[in-house]
């Protein structure tokens, strides 16, 4: 039997959030956290959480698992608990709770949209694809794979303090994805859009983002590249 403690809050019925305890029969297997949640939901259908692909590519089930943000579907219980003690599930920190493990991601998405997350190329469209050297394409590796799960931004103290003004690690990773893309013609504009005290420069290099990213991406490094390019542009 696995002891599981789940953050519960239903705005329709609860005046304040609380932790609720569940005993889950895992059949002696080392399940993924998402599997444990679905067993808990069989016991108590009122538990709310998001899930979709169940294989770590859609980014739905980011949550705080025993103190660390991660995706429930690719986090084995043994990894979360260190093989002992109970499993503790809370919503991603720093974002408003809609219900239980479901957070309101509006602020997160707003910051993503702010960086103009789309390729802009003002040169005439060729009849086939735009050519790109494999070496130039390689520059996008480690950037385009972001799944927008918000594990990074919601673990970032700078984002907690200024969610309206600081783009946050996820948005900045995507900003750099388009800056680094040799097919994009808006690089200068993208850089100058970030050149204020908050959007980029609120990053203090704490690196919580790198620590939690379930895809092994490195937003801090991308932020470093943007800073360098801004400095070069300024000189």
């Amino acid at each position: 039997m696995l002891q599981v403690s789940i953050y519960r809050y239903n705005p329709d019925t609860d005046t304040e959030p609380y932790m609720k305890e569940y005993q889950i029969d895992t059949g002696g297997k080392d399940l993924m956290v998402l599997d444990v949640l679905s067993l808990a939901k069989e016991q108590d259908s009122t538990i709310a959480y998001r899930r979709s692909c169940r294989e770590g590519v859609c980014g739905s089930d980011g949550m705080n698992i025993n103190g660390k943000n991660g995706l429930a579907c690719i986090t084995p219980v043994s990894e979360a608990t260190g093989g002992k003690g109970k499993l503790v599930l809370r919503p991603l920190p720093g974002l408003p709770v809609v219900r239980d493990l479901v957070v309101d991601m509006t602020m997160f998405y707003n910051q993503y949209e702010k960086i103009k997350p789309y390729l802009v190329n003002n040169t005439p469209v060729p009849p086939i694809e735009r050519l790109q050297d494999p070496e130039d394409r390689d520059k996008l590796d480690g950037l385009y794979e972001c799944i927008l799960c918000a594990c990074c931004s919601s673990s970032c103290p700078s984002f907690w303090w200024n969610p309206e003004k600081f783009i946050g690690p996820a948005g900045l990773l995507q900003a750099y994805r388009f800056i680094a893309d040799t097919r994009d013609t808006m690089t200068e504009q993208r850089l100058s859009d970030l050149d204020d005290p908050f959007s980029l420069f609120r990053c203090r290099g704490i690196m919580n983002c790198v620590n939690v990213c379930p895809k092994g991406l490195n937003p801090t490094k991308a932020i470093g590249h943007i800073r360098n390019q801004l400095l070069q542009q300024g000189t």
């Binding site: 590519v57 479901v102 997350p117 385009y144």
Partner: protein
């Protein structure tokens, strides 16, 4: 339902995967008043899980490649019940649609020449089957679906598409003329239900792999569009045709791309034998998916499966080397470590055929217009309803889809429906009206759940349904088992009509959504069961012990399941492409 709000649009698209977002983009770019309703934030849609690529004759890997060769492969892959006019359209328009994706920013992998990288996939040939294996699948490493879906979302952000994210479509609204006037949808965050009224309602709701116990599909793939169409009395086509992907990770069901075999991986049995050489001497591991899946099951049934239970085979990749695996198949390496506990650089992956794709769906023409049959048996356009992507059966996949053709289907027909609706709106389509009682009917299911006082548990019934489908309608099928399956589903229908929603709260009530989804799973499962039992032959993915041969005399036809009578009829396959000669049915070998 009192005081239900009405929101009015030119077009409402239901579903935010590749097909829905491609259609939305077309309409948003042309300034139409469009809403896209999605039960998940769009980048969580199942398109994100597509791995290997998008098949299309862009002539990068082979400068002489020709869309007609791709068309030949697709017709043959379909076991000749794919519509040749639709396949011709997809294969010939494909390059344009793929180049557009690249222009939008999709980060395709590249060749040394800087062009889009293409890899070999199953069922591909050069020169109409005469020129050996082709490499026609355009790839962004093994994350092509993710790259495609995010690119389409990004372009929709650019064009200010109206997204209704985490809204769940409950039912179509139809009037006395059987015209579709919109959908009822519920906001998951607040519980509010709204009538989305539109001149064009576009279903892009994806597949329904969750009718099976073991599937590569996302948990959200519950056949909502098929369910809504059947409840509205509209037919579905070829719904018995379910693709079992050869390589789902044994136990977990997670997909391992065919691109693994495209890059040179192969399957072995417990003796270490590369058994596909026996079943498909030419194409071997790159035969059609139906052929490979059956061969694997045969190995397992003959006692040559791997593992202590002998219930899977191995996919061997280690001979490709670490560099190729990490460059071309990085996602697979991650998934294999996470879900199989094996590193493909060193060990083979345990795999088993796993439900993957619904070839059938709502019959449409190449413009995405949904079709029904008139009293005379001829096709009749359903006023106001369109379908694109996996929920649609246009039909480009027939009895068996080729790998990489799904992503192409999404963008080509999402685009085509968008273009057609854009034109129709410009010419002026009339908004059909529905009465209060029409709306009331569409609100029935919600009403029943809100008033349910007791009844059975949703998750238990869902499991029973999935088990029944898995046992009775798998890779190999048999008349008596299927008849038993149809009976089981009849009983399940009685029980599912009485599910109990214990939690009636409004905010993000996922129990309510799961109860509504179960109704759709049931509709898809029952249609599948009746159609599978009714098609008395073996063709493509539909393989029967009691009718082991293809029967072109009686079944070179689409099946049409009519939900109002629960009877199976037939519809003609199109054999009239416009630019090439008809590909005549022949014996299908690889």
């Amino acid at each position: 339902m009192a005081n239900m709000r009405t929101l009015t649009f030119d077009a409402v698209i239901v579903g935010g995967g590749g097909a829905g977002m491609r259609a939305a983009l077309q309409l948003a770019q042309s300034g139409q008043n469009t809403a896209l309703i999605s039960k998940v934030f769009p980048t969580r849609s199942h398109t994100v899980s597509a791995q290997g690529g998008i098949t299309c004759a862009i002539a990068s890997a082979d400068p002489n490649d020709d869309w007609r060769w791709h068309m030949y492969d697709t017709v043959k892959g379909s076991d000749y019940i794919g519509d040749q006019d639709a396949i011709e359209y997809m294969c010939s328009v494909g390059p344009q649609a793929v180049f557009e994706l690249e222009h939008m920013g999709l980060p395709f992998s590249r060749t040394e020449a800087g062009r889009i990288y293409q890899r070999p996939f199953g069922g591909q040939s050069k020169n109409f089957g005469e020129g050996g294996q082709a490499a026609r699948t355009c790839a962004a490493a093994d994350r092509t679906g993710h790259a495609l879906l995010h690119t389409l979302y990004q372009q929709n952000v650019r064009c200010n598409t109206n997204f209704y994210n985490e809204w769940y479509a409950v039912d179509l609204v139809t009037n006395q003329d059987n015209a579709v006037t919109g959908v009822i949808a519920i906001s998951m965050e607040t519980g509010e239900s709204v009538y989305f009224k539109a001149k064009a309602t576009v279903f892009a709701t994806g597949g329904s792999g969750r009718i099976y116990a073991s599937t590569t599909n996302a948990l959200i793939n519950t056949g909502d569009g098929v369910g809504m169409a059947l409840r509205a009395g509209f037919p579905v086509q070829d719904i018995e045709m379910w693709q079992f992907h050869p390589t789902g990770i044994a136990g977990a069901g997670v997909l391992v791309t065919e691109g693994c075999r495209g890059e040179g991986g192969y399957l072995v049995n417990k003796d270490g034998e590369r058994f596909m050489e026996r079943y498909a001497p030419n194409a071997k591991d790159l035969a059609g998916r139906d052929v490979v899946a059956r061969s694997m099951m045969q190995e397992i049934l003959d006692g040559r499966g791997c593992g202590p239970e002998g219930d899977h085979v191995f996919l061997k990749l280690d001979h490709l080397g670490e560099e190729v695996l990490h460059k071309r198949l990085p996602g697979i390496c991650e998934l294999a470590i996470t879900f199989a506990g094996t590193d493909p650089v060193k060990e083979p992956i345990p795999v088993v055929p796993t439900c993957h794709y619904m070839m059938g769906g709502i019959p449409t023409n190449v413009h995405g217009q949904a079709l029904t049959q008139g009293a005379d048996g001829n096709d009749k356009v359903i006023d106001g309803l369109y379908a694109v992507g996996e929920v649609a059966c246009v039909s480009v996949h027939g009895a068996n889809r080729l790998g990489g053709n799904s992503l192409l289907d999404l963008v080509v027909f999402g685009r085509a429906a968008g273009l057609f609706i854009e034109q129709a709106l410009k010419e002026g389509i009339e908004q059909r009206e529905s009465s209060e009682s029409d709306l009331e009917r569409s609100y029935n299911r919600l009403n029943r759940l809100e008033n349910s006082k007791d009844g059975e548990d949703v998750s238990k019934l869902r499991k029973a349904l999935q088990t029944s489908m898995q046992n009775n309608f798998g890779v190999f099928r048999k008349g008596d088992l299927m008849q038993a399956g149809v009976k089981e589903l009849e009983e399940l229908r009685q029980r599912i009509a009485n599910t109990h929603l214990e939690d009636k709260s409004a905010a993000f009530n996922t129990a309510r959504i799961e109860a509504l989804e179960l109704d759709n799973l049931l509709e898809v499962a029952e249609a599948t069961a009746i159609a599978a039992e009714g098609r008395q032959e073996s063709r493509g993915a539909h393989s029967r012990y009691d009718f082991p041969d293809r029967d072109d005399e009686n079944w070179l036809a689409h099946s049409i399941y009519d939900p109002t009578t629960k009877k199976l009829g037939k519809r003609q396959v199109n054999f009239s492409p416009k630019q090439v000669d008809t590909f005549q049915p022949k014996v299908r070998t690889y």
